[in-house]
């Protein structure tokens, strides 16, 4: 994924969170920092569950895929082994 595409997804998430939850985020940091992005993803999913904003969950998935953020504990998703949760292409391509 291009850096610009990743930034675009982060920017969209920033706008959504601002509108739906009032939460202000750092777009550039979100696109470049794995831990921050993972926390934003967690927050967005939590708000999606609590307040029923389906769009937040959808864009949380996109952001997670874009930055390779690991799924938070307890979140739904396939589990295939110890290294299955390691984000793809972070810290190594293999």
């Amino acid at each position: 994924m291009l850096d610009s595409e990743r930034l675009a997804i982060a920017a969209h998430m920033h706008v959504l969170l601002r509108r739906k939850t009032g939460r202000v985020t750092d777009t550039e940091w979100m696109a470049g920092n794995l831990e921050y992005a993972a926390e934003v993803v967690r927050f967005a999913r939590e708000k999606a569950r609590e307040d029923g904003h389906a769009e937040l969950a959808e864009w949380a998935d996109k952001l997670e895929q874009a930055v390779g953020a690991p799924r938070a504990a307890g979140s739904k998703g396939p589990s295939h082994g110890p290294e299955a949760l390691a984000p793809r292409y972070v810290g190594g391509i293999r």
Partner: protein
């Protein structure tokens, strides 16, 4: 030299190319003391010499010409595709340019200096200068004479030197995989040029020239497990540590540009490796045939083994894993190709697949260096695994000698240590002289634009 024919079997064994079962044309190589024992001392050349054209083997020469082309294809475009597919889009062209430029640079340096340092007799550490400055390789039509190397007297020296060149080229090109996306093109060329002469040529001399100290010690390395793979792996690791990680490494996902290119490259590597290993028999004979077979078996076993490991650990097999497993198996069989049975090759490939998977994942995290394309994880670890297993599995009926794991470990350790230390020294020198890394902005923009003012279309 001539006085120690007793140790020839050991010497011969060390030389990858020297292994041949042709009693008349091959006496340079250890090829099995069995054949060697019948020859008189005086018939054994210890230096390049002019011989009658008729004494050469046409079949062997034809096969060596073919092998040379196959091994060069492994670099151009095999390795170029393999590597370029794995880097991010913004540095694909730079990665390819690096491989191409290295091929050209090393080619010139090889005939200017490198071949002479590696493959002429002098002392256990380095060769003489008789082949420097593009000298030698005489072909005298009227006299009907051709220069041959004492290492491979059944083929013209020009062919032997070209074959060896392709090994020097690919070894240097492998190192680049550790520092993609962040090293200055000029610094990379300068460093690789020095590295070829200061690191590669001496190690090749130690292992493959009859008087080399590792050859004398009896280390088995049929086609370059140590000279090429352990050497490149160690150098790659040193580069990764010294040059430092890419910006965002460990935090951002560095998505490969096109694993389709990587697969195309892996295919060329697999097929080209027949030249790499079977060609190292320096003869079109039974040993070459067996080397080709075991190479293929090990590649397939490595692919399946890595795939299985990844499937268990991550839940899905990947194309990159398959390609990487192929290479792991090929690397590990390289030192063993002329010495082991097909069943042993299966074991070597399978173990290498798993070991290199760990090398590119768990070990990589332990080492903490951004070895971008896992040069140490695959080539370094695969080479070490192959070297040790060669000591364990070398078959006396096939090779004529018994393997020794301790000797193999010592040889691998010596190459690893020398490569690590000297590579670090050369990097220090290069950094002092011209600097190593591009600036932050260039790294962020991508080296295609920053270093070459070129970009992929579309």
């Amino acid at each position: 030299m001539a006085a120690s024919w007793l140790s020839w079997h050991v010497l011969c064994v060390c030389m990858p190319m020297r292994i041949t079962t042709n009693t008349t044309a091959s006496w340079g190589v250890p090829a099995a003391l069995v054949f060697f024992s019948g020859l008189a001392h005086s018939q054994a050349p210890t230096a390049p010499s002019l011989v009658a054209q008729e004494s050469l083997s046409g079949a062997d020469t034809a096969w060596m010409l073919t092998s040379t082309a196959l091994v060069l294809l492994m670099t151009l475009p095999g390795l170029a595709l393999f590597y370029a597919g794995m880097v991010r889009r913004k540095s694909v062209l730079n990665t390819m340019a690096s491989v191409v430029a290295i091929a050209a640079l090393v080619s010139l340096l090889w005939f200017a200096v490198g071949y002479s340092l590696a493959f002429t007799p002098n002392n256990p550490w380095i060769g003489n200068g008789s082949r420097m400055g593009f000298e030698g390789f005489d072909y005298l039509k009227q006299a009907g004479k051709v220069m041959v190397s004492h290492v491979a007297p059944n083929v013209p020296e020009s062919v032997f030197a070209m074959f060896q060149l392709t090994f020097a080229v690919i070894t240097a090109a492998l190192v680049v995989g550790a520092i993609v996306e962040r090293m200055r093109f000029s610094a990379m060329l300068f460093f690789i040029g020095l590295w070829t002469l200061v690191v590669y040529a001496p190690i090749a001399h130690w292992v493959w020239e009859p008087g080399g100290w590792l050859a004398q010690m009896g280390a088995l390395d049929f086609a370059g497990g140590a000279v090429v793979h352990i050497n490149a792996g160690a150098a790659g690791l040193a580069c990764a540590w010294f040059v430092g990680p890419r910006r965002g490494y460990g935090r951002q996902a560095f998505e490969p540009y096109s694993l389709a290119l990587t697969m195309a490259g892996a295919g060329l590597l697999w097929v080209g490796w027949f030249g790499f290993n079977a060609g190292s028999a320096i003869a079109a004979d039974g040993r070459a045939g067996l080397a080709m077979l075991v190479t293929h078996v090990a590649a397939a076993a490595g692919a399946m083994s890595w795939m299985l490991a990844e499937w268990l650990m991550r839940g899905r097999p990947s194309l990159l894993g398959l390609c990487s497993g192929i290479v792991a198996g090929l690397v590990a069989i390289t030192p063993a190709a002329g010495f082991v049975t097909p069943a042993s090759a299966l074991l070597i490939g399978a173990l290498a697949g798993m070991a290199c998977y760990w090398g590119a994942t768990g070990l990589k995290r332990l080492l903490g260096a951004d070895d971008s394309l896992d040069v140490f994880g695959v080539h370094g670890i695969g080479g070490i695994v192959g070297a040790l297993l060669t000591g364990l599995l070398a078959s006396k009926p096939i090779s004529g000698v018994q393997g020794d794991v301790l000797v193999q470990a010592m040889g691998a350790g010596a190459v690893l240590a020398y490569s690590l230390v000297m590579t670090a020294g050369l990097l220090l020198f290069t950094q002092w002289l011209i600097g190593l890394r591009v600036d932050e902005q260039s790294e962020s923009t991508g080296l295609d634009i920053a270093q070459h003012r070129e970009r992929l279309g579309g």
